[in-house]
C-alpha cells in the first residue's frame, strides 16, 4: 500500500522535474520566435512592434539562402560519413583486437579534446595548400572529423550492453555476417546510431569556429553568415532563420508522428481482420 503510494510520489516528482527540464530546454525558443517578428533592428524582447521584415531580409538575400543550402548539404554528407565511419569504428573498438588501443581511443576523442580554434587554424593552413578551403569537400572532411566522436561514443555504449548471443543465434541459423548485422545488430543499436546521426548533423550544422576559417566568398555556411557581423551588430535575421528551421523541424516531426499513427491504424485494422 505505502509502496504504491511512495511509487506514485516518485513518479509524480519525476514527472514534475521532467516537465521543468523540458521547459528549460525550450525556454530560449519562446524568446527567439517573438524576437524574429520584431520591427526593431535590434534583438529585443518583448518586441514593441511586429513585422515580417527579417524573414523578408533572409529570403530576399541570396547570400543568406545559399549559406543555408550549403549548411544542409554539408550537414547531410557529414552525417552520412560520420555514421558510417563512426559505427564501423565503434564495432571494431568494442569487439575487435588491434594494436595501440589506448592511442586509438585518444585519437578518436581528439577532435573533441583539441580546441576547435586550433583545429581550425591547423586545417586551414593545410587546406590552403590543397585548395580545399571554401569547398564543400573541405567542410565535409573537417566537420566529419569533429562529429565522429559523438557517433563512436553513442554507438559504443549501445554495443557494450548488446547481447552477442543474439548474433550467434542468427549465425548458427545460417545468416551471414551482413544479414546478421542488418537484421539483428542494427535494429537493437539503431536508437544509438540515430542519436549519433543527430549529433553529427547538429555538430556540423551549428559549427562556427572551424567554419570561419574554411569559409569565404565561394562557400559559406549558415553559422558563419550569422557570426560574420556579430562583432559589430547582429539583427533579428538570425532569429528569423532559427524560427524557420524550428518550424521545418516541427513539421517533419508532425509528419513522422502522423505517419506512425497511420501505420498503427492500418496495422490495427489488419490485426482486427485477422482475428475476426
Amino acid at each position: 500500500m505505502s509502496g504504491m503510494a511512495s511509487r506514485r510520489l516518485v513518479r509524480a516528482s519525476l514527472g514534475a522535474l521532467a516537465v521543468l527540464t523540458g521547459l528549460y530546454l525550450v525556454l530560449p525558443v519562446f524568446i527567439v520566435i517573438p524576437m524574429s517578428f520584431s520591427d526593431s533592428a535590434f534583438l529585443e524582447f518583448p518586441p514593441k512592434a511586429w513585422s515580417w521584415r527579417w524573414y523578408e531580409n533572409f529570403l530576399g538575400d541570396e547570400t543568406w539562402v545559399s549559406s543555408l543550402v550549403s549548411s544542409v548539404q554539408v550537414g547531410v554528407l557529414v552525417t552520412l560519413c560520420a555514421v558510417v565511419l563512426g559505427t564501423a569504428a565503434a564495432l571494431g573498438m568494442i569487439r575487435g583486437r588491434y594494436p595501440l588501443k589506448a592511442l586509438v581511443s585518444a585519437l578518436v576523442m581528439a577532435p573533441v579534446l583539441v580546441p576547435y580554434v586550433i583545429i581550425g587554424l591547423a586545417v586551414y593552413a593545410v587546406f590552403l595548400d590543397l585548395g580545399l578551403t571554401e569547398t564543400l569537400l573541405g567542410f565535409v572532411l573537417v566537420h566529419t572529423a569533429l562529429a565522429v566522436p559523438y557517433v563512436v561514443i553513442t554507438v559504443s555504449s549501445a554495443l557494450m550492453s548488446f547481447d552477442r548471443r543474439l548474433e550467434n543465434a542468427a549465425m548458427s541459423l545460417g545468416a551471414g555476417p551482413i544479414v546478421t548485422f542488418a537484421r539483428v545488430t542494427l535494429p537493437v543499436i539503431l536508437p544509438s546510431v540515430l542519436s549519433g546521426a543527430v549529433f553529427a548533423f547538429v555538430t556540423s550544422f551549428d559549427e562556427v569556429v572551424t567554419s570561419v576559417f574554411l569559409s569565404g566568398p565561394d562557400f559559406t555556411t549558415l553559422p558563419v553568415q550569422m557570426w560574420s557581423g556579430v562583432r559589430v551588430r547582429i539583427d533579428p535575421t538570425v532569429a528569423a532563420v532559427s524560427s524557420m528551421l524550428l518550424l521545418v523541424t516541427l513539421a517533419l516531426f508532425a509528419v513522422a508522428g502522423l505517419a506512425r499513427l497511420a501505420r498503427r491504424v492500418r496495422a490495427g485494422g489488419a490485426k482486427e481482420r485477422r482475428s475476426s
Binding site: L25, K101, A169, V198
Partner: protein, 290 residues
C-alpha cells in the same frame, strides 16, 4: 564461433604481452584511424609543434604559462566549470531520460521534441536569448519581485547557458541505453521481495551505466572547449581556456603560446580521463579495456 566463446571473450585475461594482432573486427577501426590521421593529426602536428618554435625555439611558451597566475586560474576554472556542467546535466538528464522510457508514446514524443528543439536554434541565437532572459532588466528579473537577482556575467549564468546546450547530448545516449534495458528485471527483483529503490539501484542502475558514462564523457569533454557561451553569459572571472586560446590566436597572434595552451589542455584532460577511467569504466566505452 560458439556462443560460449563469444560471451567468455570479455572476461578472458590478457595473457599475451606486446602488441595484440589485428583481427577482423579490429580492421573496422582502420578507416576512421586513417581518416583522422589525414584530416586532423597531420595538420595539428604542424600547429602544435609551433608551441616549441614560435616565436623562438625552446620551451618559452610553456614557461609563459606560469608567467602569470591568470592562465592557471583559467585552466582550473575551465575544468571546474565543465565538471559542474556535467554534474547538473546528468542530474537533470537522468530522470528525464528515465521518464522517457516510462511515458506513453505521446508524452515520449513531447519529451523528445523538447530535447530536439534546442538543436535547431543556433548556439549564437540561443546565447543572445539567454542574455535577454537573465539580465538585470530581463524576463526573469521582471517577474521576480525585489532587487534584480544577478543571473548574468557570473557562474550561474554560464551554467544555465551551457547545461541547456549540453542536455540533449546527455539525454539522447542515456535514453537510447535505457530503452534497451528490460524492465521485467525490475519486476522480477521486486517480485522476489526487493524494495523498489533497492531493485532500481542494484539492478537497473548498473545496466544504465554505459549510457550514463557515455553522456558524462561527451558532456564533460565538449564543455571544456566552450567559448561563445561563457564569453557572453559569464563575467571576467568565468573566462574559459577556449576563449583565451582564441584571444591568443586571433587577437594577439601569439600562435606558439596558443598552441602551448592547447597542448597543456590536452595533456591535463588526458591525465584526468585516465584517472577517471580507473574509477569509472570509461575505457571499456572506448574499447580501451581488455
Amino acid at each position: 564461433m560458439t556462443a560460449e566463446a563469444a560471451t567468455a571473450e570479455p572476461a578472458a585475461p590478457a595473457v599475451r604481452r606486446g602488441l595484440p594482432r589485428l583481427d577482423r573486427w579490429g580492421l573496422l577501426v582502420l578507416p576512421l584511424v586513417g581518416f583522422l590521421l589525414a584530416v586532423l593529426v597531420w595538420p595539428l602536428t604542424a600547429v602544435l609543434l609551433r608551441s616549441f618554435t614560435d616565436p623562438e625555439p625552446g620551451v618559452e611558451n610553456y614557461l609563459a604559462f606560469f608567467h602569470s597566475p591568470v592562465y592557471l586560474d583559467v585552466l582550473v576554472n575551465t575544468f571546474v566549470t565543465a565538471g559542474l556542467v556535467t554534474l547538473v546535466t546528468l542530474l537533470l538528464g537522468f530522470p528525464y531520460s528515465y521518464l522517457m522510457t516510462l511515458a506513453s508514446p505521446f508524452w515520449r514524443g513531447v519529451l523528445m521534441l523538447a530535447v530536439l528543439v534546442p538543436f535547431w536554434t543556433s548556439l549564437l541565437v540561443r546565447t543572445f536569448a539567454w542574455v535577454l532572459i537573465l539580465r538585470d532588466t530581463g524576463v526573469v528579473n521582471e517577474l521576480l519581485p525585489g532587487p534584480p537577482v544577478p543571473l548574468l556575467r557570473n557562474l550561474p549564468g554560464v551554467l544555465i547557458g551551457m547545461v541547456q546546450v549540453m542536455l540533449p547530448f546527455a539525454v539522447l545516449p542515456m535514453y537510447a541505453a535505457m530503452r534497451g534495458i528490460d524492465r521485467r528485471l525490475l519486476q522480477a527483483a521486486e517480485g522476489l521481495g526487493a524494495r523498489p529503490a533497492f531493485a532500481f539501484w542494484r539492478i537497473y542502475a548498473p545496466l544504465a551505466v554505459p549510457g550514463v558514462a557515455a553522456s558524462a564523457l561527451l558532456v564533460f569533454v565538449s564543455s571544456l572547449g566552450f567559448y561563445v557561451t561563457p564569453a557572453l553569459l559569464g563575467g571576467p572571472k568565468n573566462i574559459m581556456i577556449g576563449e583565451l586560446i582564441v584571444q591568443q590566436l586571433s587577437g594577439v597572434l601569439r600562435w606558439g603560446f596558443a598552441s602551448a595552451l592547447a597542448v597543456i589542455l590536452l595533456v591535463v584532460t588526458g591525465g584526468l580521463l585516465m584517472l577517471m577511467s580507473r574509477l569509472v569504466d570509461l575505457r571499456r566505452l572506448l574499447g580501451g579495456a581488455r
